[in-house]
């Protein structure tokens, strides 16, 4: 087993920096409101002389434009949980860890090496995707989880020459040079050991076991055994949640909806990792743009829903559709935070590429992916009422003999919908949804000139069962084909009801 520890230095600071764009001194404060104490500071703040443990008042005296943010443990836990969901695509054995030294995620990569093309390829991939998410981290590889954590911590603290411990025999050598303070033991114990002249982990490992256990207790000895692999160290199992939730604070208040695309990309990458781990796809993404809660009348979050025809999990595809969708969104107030939620996960099967190259005029069924993606893109930009399919309906009345329907996912399955009886006579290729009354008298209707009747009459009387229905009417008409001086061929009818008016219904285009 090979464990990888991803150690995130100063997680509260990283979360704040993901949300901020200005480069200035930044500190994270914690503690009672009367006496806030600095816990983390960024390089600019350190350059000004601020150190962890100082009072906030002292820090503000040292640096002029200091930004102090409160530490939020709930947000850190949520961020670690999101990171675990993202890491689920690489391995099923994941556990978050967090203490004063560092926080992060441990995952077991030994079993996944072969799938991802080797240890180096997997490491590069994890590093690259973590960087794209916006995190800085150090990595440590070891045969036990605790040792991996310590190695990662060593690299975090600047020990670049720290070696990995991929097998059990190298664990002792890798852990020996680490200082005792990094183990996270009680301060009193560490002080006692230091007064005895033991500075490093290697020194403690050389002590006789039973004497150490009698003096300091078996718990510490068990911890060392677990780190060295002499005892089992089972991690609590990680079950990925059934739905995906992630949030991001925006650096500046964004008034233009199109600018939401950039922060949305990091949320979509986290979603992609989660979906890859679950082997699922999503069809409905619910984005919510939160507005400032400090206004006099706080606005409710603006929902932005992205719907797809088929389950998808690629972040680029989501981002492309979201870009089109955002062109239609208007924010009532500037947005301060963006949240993404996916409720339903659907099984996802990526398209199998064919072994044979496609030929030019292939009579075999066309892959539906290109057409479906086109429909989704058009739908995202123009809206569902402007992108549709037309189906023929079995009705004698011409204006009800068709209906528009949303896009069918599978074109083969859609051929069974919309049965239509073949019309006995010619029908026009273009129809007006609402018949247009024609000027002129009853004997000589006119439409851009005097009309000459060429074919007909075809009597259509139907729909008596729609008596009393305001939207659908019964039809009593005599249809003719007419031609006018400019050369148009029209489908007109005369109403058999009391005002025997002439109406234009279609064009034989």
């Amino acid at each position: 087993m090979l464990w990888l520890a991803i150690c995130l230095p100063a997680l509260p600071l990283q979360l704040a920096e993901r949300a901020l764009v200005r480069a200035g001194p930044l500190v994270i404060v914690e503690g009672p409101p009367q006496r806030p104490v600095v816990t983390c500071c960024n390089p600019q703040a350190s350059a000004a002389g601020i150190e962890p443990g100082q009072k906030l008042a002292a820090a503000q005296a040292l640096a002029g434009h200091l930004l102090a943010l409160e530490r939020d443990p709930a947000r850190e836990r949520a961020a670690l949980h999101e990171l675990c969901c993202w890491a689920y695509q690489f391995s099923p054995h994941i556990a978050p860890f967090g203490d004063e030294q560092s926080s992060g995620v441990i995952l077991e990569t030994g079993a996944s090496r072969r799938l991802f093309g080797g240890h180096d390829a997997l490491h590069r991939r994890i590093a690259r995707e973590l960087h794209r998410l916006g995190y800085r981290a150090s990595f440590g590889y070891a045969a036990t989880p605790r040792a991996a954590q310590l190695i990662g911590l060593a690299r975090l603290r600047g020990r670049d020459e720290q070696a990995d411990a991929p097998d059990a025999s190298s664990l002792k050598a890798a852990l020996a040079p680490l200082p005792l303070a990094w183990l996270g033991w009680e301060a009193g114990t560490v002080a006692t050991l230091q007064s005895l002249g033991l500075e490093k982990v290697g020194d403690v490992l050389r002590l006789p076991r039973d004497a150490f256990a009698r003096r300091f207790g078996t718990l510490l000895l068990d911890e060392l055994d677990r780190a060295l692999g002499r005892q089992a160290d089972p991690q609590p199992p990680f079950t990925p949640p059934e739905r995906f939730e992630a949030g991001l604070e925006l650096p500046a208040d964004l008034a233009d909806a199109a600018q939401l695309l950039q922060p949305a990309r990091s949320l979509l990458r986290a979603l992609q990792g989660f979906l890859r781990g679950r082997g699922a796809g999503a069809t409905e993404l619910l984005f919510q743009a939160h507005h400032s809660p400090r206004r006099a009348v706080p606005a409710p979050p603006t929902p932005i829903v992205l719907k797809l025809a088929a389950p998808e999990r690629s972040a680029e595809r989501f981002a492309a559709l979201l870009g089109e969708r955002l062109a239609r969104v208007r924010l009532p107030q500037p947005a301060t935070a963006l949240a993404l939620r996916v409720e339903r996960l659907l099984p996802f099967a990526p398209a199998h590429p064919s072994l044979l190259p496609p030929s030019a005029d292939d009579p075999s069924p066309a892959p539906a992916t290109g057409w479906l993606q086109l429909a989704e893109t058009l739908h995202a930009r123009l809206g569902s009422e402007r992108v549709f399919q037309l189906l023929a309906v079995d009705d004698h009345r011409p204006e009800y003999a068709y209906r528009s329907a949303p896009i069918a996912i599978d074109a083969d399955e859609a051929t069974t919908r919309g049965e239509a009886s073949p019309a006995a006579a010619q029908r026009p290729l273009l129809l007006l949804p609402v018949p247009q009354p024609l000027p002129g008298d009853a004997a000589a209707p006119r439409y851009r000139g005097r009309l000459t009747l060429v074919a007909g009459p075809e009597r259509i009387e139907s729909g008596w069962w729609d008596l009393g229905d305001a939207r659908r009417r019964s039809v009593h008409r005599d249809y003719f084909v007419a031609r006018n001086p400019p050369g148009q061929t029209l489908w007109i009818y005369r109403d058999l009801a009391a005002p025997h008016g002439w109406y234009l219904h279609g064009f034989f285009a």
Partner: protein
């Protein structure tokens, strides 16, 4: 290219015997050149129309007279085809329908970008007529944009899709420069796809230059569609082609006398429009005195 002309019997200064022994070098060179040029395979002559371009495939239009005049013998794929129509309803869609039916048989999809919505009662392609013509409605997508800019965007997106059979779009007329740029962009995108690309525009755009490879002007006289090829790869066409797009029996038919307005419309229309509660009132005359009311047989059977 002139063919080899007959050598005259009497050439001033030369006799036939001289020609047989030593032919005139200039004349012989001419004839040799003519023979050599004839034997060249990839020589393009201005009068030629069919030049084999293996990269572009053509789909038959369904009308033999038009196929004979189009380079390649049909609609070229991967090129912008512009159709200029003065008034809708002359038969422009009927011209395209046979080629679209062929595409449906190959199970490819087609995208229709309808004219932008203006008044609310815009004409819609009629599915029963499309189905009769052989177009697969399950593989057809219809887009109704709100503004002209969305029309161009939708056409671009459709041309970027893979494995598309045909794109039919109605383009509104804008400024000549803007239209030219938009058509150029569509032409470039069309070159990358293997679909049939039809753009229908108003006749007023005919004099403006256009980057489309094929431009047709459509008009109708006496029930025949007159197709004039404004632009094609090859020599220009001088007179328009007449095509029978609509049924032949409509061509010379006339209906002079209309059937009279049906009498039952006077009594029969009333129950159709009124509430059903009014229907029993037509039966009430049976209880009243028969002399005060005259009702016909039709009124009894009208409800």
């Amino acid at each position: 290219m002139s063919t080899v002309e007959a050598i005259p019997l009497f050439t001033p200064g030369r006799s036939r015997l001289d020609d047989a022994i030593a032919p005139d070098p200039a004349m012989a060179a001419d004839s040799q050149r003519a023979v050599a040029l004839d034997q060249l395979a990839n020589l393009w002559r201005a009068g030629d129309l069919q030049h084999d371009d293996p990269s572009a495939s053509c789909r038959p239009t369904g009308f033999a007279a038009l196929d004979a005049e189009l380079p390649g013998g049909g609609w070229p794929t991967g090129q912008l085809i512009e159709l200029l129509v003065a008034t809708p309803g002359v038969g422009e869609l009927g011209l395209l329908v046979p080629a679209l039916a062929g595409i449906a048989q190959q199970r490819r999809s087609c995208v229709w970008v309808l004219p932008p919505e203006r008044a609310g009662n815009e004409a819609v392609p009629y599915p029963p007529a499309l189905a009769n013509a052989g177009i697969d409605l399950a593989r057809s997508l219809f887009v109704r944009p709100a503004v002209a800019r969305e029309t161009l965007w939708a056409l671009e997106q459709a041309l970027r899709a893979t494995h598309l059979g045909a794109v039919i779009g109605w383009m509104a007329t804008g400024t000549p420069d803007g239209d030219f740029r938009a058509l150029r962009r569509l032409q470039l995108l069309a070159g990358r796809s293997r679909a049939l690309v039809f753009v229908l525009r108003d006749m007023s755009c005919a004099p403006a230059p256009s980057p489309a490879a094929l431009r047709l002007q459509l008009g109708a006289t006496d029930g025949c569609l007159q197709v004039a090829l404004l632009k094609r790869r090859g020599r220009p066409l001088l007179k328009p082609i007449a095509l029978q797009v609509q049924p032949r029996h409509w061509r010379d038919a006339r209906i002079e006398t209309l059937p009279a307005a049906p009498r039952r419309a006077a009594a029969g229309a009333a129950p159709a429009d009124d509430a059903p509660a009014a229907a029993p009132s037509a039966l009430s005359p049976m209880t009243s005195s028969p002399a005060g009311r005259r009702w016909s047989l039709a009124s009894i059977f009208s409800h």
